[in-house]
Point group: C2
Chain length 212, copies 2
């Protein structure tokens, strides 16, 4: 890598880190590209535009920075356990990689709070889904689907949405508590993942009393 290319890569990293932190703490809509350039120590206020393009392109790049390692963790989990999984095992493959990734980053993290904002925004959610949805997630959801009781399609969709809400907001709330110094229920991200896996498995396997 040339000196120039290395410097550009360093600038990109600094911008991504500043963006993630500002988005998590002040909100994706409240923070301008100008503020991000400044927080990243860029003399040029147009640095974000030059290196990333639009704000949505920047958001996409922040997501990718985390979605890739999470996907790698999921691939490894799917490869090391056999294919004779029950519903709880498939839910574990779905939930644990994200929690593990946050644990590896070390405190403080910002990604969970950032992701929670994206997932509650109808437009930005698409960015998140685009970047996070790869072959390993498709295989994971497919495996889980085969272990579920016979549920009407709308109920299946609805429970998928609910599982997503639980993952996103439970992790974001723990991250916020860590950032504020508020006591948390469990000692570490792995224990949080265990609790989430139990709950989401219960949610998926619950009898369906509606005839939707």
């Amino acid at each position: 890598m040339s000196v120039k290319a290395a410097r550009a890569a360093g600038t990109r990293e600094a911008i991504l880190t500043a963006a993630e932190r500002l988005f998590a703490e002040h909100g994706v809509f409240a923070v301008s590209n100008r503020q991000i350039s400044e927080a990243a120590g860029q003399g040029n206020n147009a640095a974000v535009g030059y290196h990333f393009g639009t704000k949505t392109d920047l958001i996409r790049a922040v997501v990718r920075r985390h979605a890739d390692p999470i996907d790698a963790l999921r691939q490894r989990m799917l490869a090391t356990t056999g294919d004779s999984r029950d519903a709880r095992d498939w839910v574990a493959c779905l939930v644990r990689p994200g929690a593990q990734h946050l644990g590896r980053l070390g405190s403080p993290t910002w990604y969970a709070r950032f992701a929670a904002q994206l997932m509650t925004d109808p437009v930005l959610r698409e960015v998140m889904v685009d970047e996070a949805f790869g072959p390993s997630l498709a295989r994971n959801l497919d495996g889980l689907n085969r272990c579920l009781p016979d549920l009407p399609l709308p109920v299946r969709i609805e429970r998928g949405d609910m599982a997503r809400h639980l993952m996103v907001h439970t992790l974001a709330e723990r991250e916020r508590a860590l950032a504020d110094g508020t006591p948390t229920v469990h000692p570490d991200w792995d224990a949080y993942a265990d609790g989430l896996i139990d709950a989401i498995t219960g949610l998926w396997l619950a009898p369906c009393t509606t005839t939707a």
Copy 2:
């Protein structure tokens, strides 16, 4: 009521309605008291301050406008079914009143999106909890607790938080879909409540594999 008192009550109602809509659509932090006064048709930009005080006081008043009728629906539900309830019945008393209230308001509603913002903010959540927590909710949670399997306290707390996330975000997402004209999974709020009640009951009754 004097003409003057009636006029003041009308102004307060107009302000509450405008605030709720603007908060839901643009975010609690993005909207100023001045914008609310204008949207409520008040020539005087200080109308919000005059009638409600601070922004937090105004938020509290919006919550109370919905928390009171929801509480009345819950009281009625608790009174009409017997005390030999199972976990699902108690969860129904917890979930259905909010959904029923939204159904009665008629489309469009804004309260679910507003409430979701409060519940993801550590300070504003306290306002919500203060206003929504009354004797009927205490009795409801107490009844539910008696029907649950023996769970360690941290797991009990955690599942309570998860149930809250599910209620708040599932209803807000349906409200948002209705506002955007996006197709929704179920035809009405009651059917949404049924799906939520099944899922939250499954979550509460799930075996606990952790030793937190």
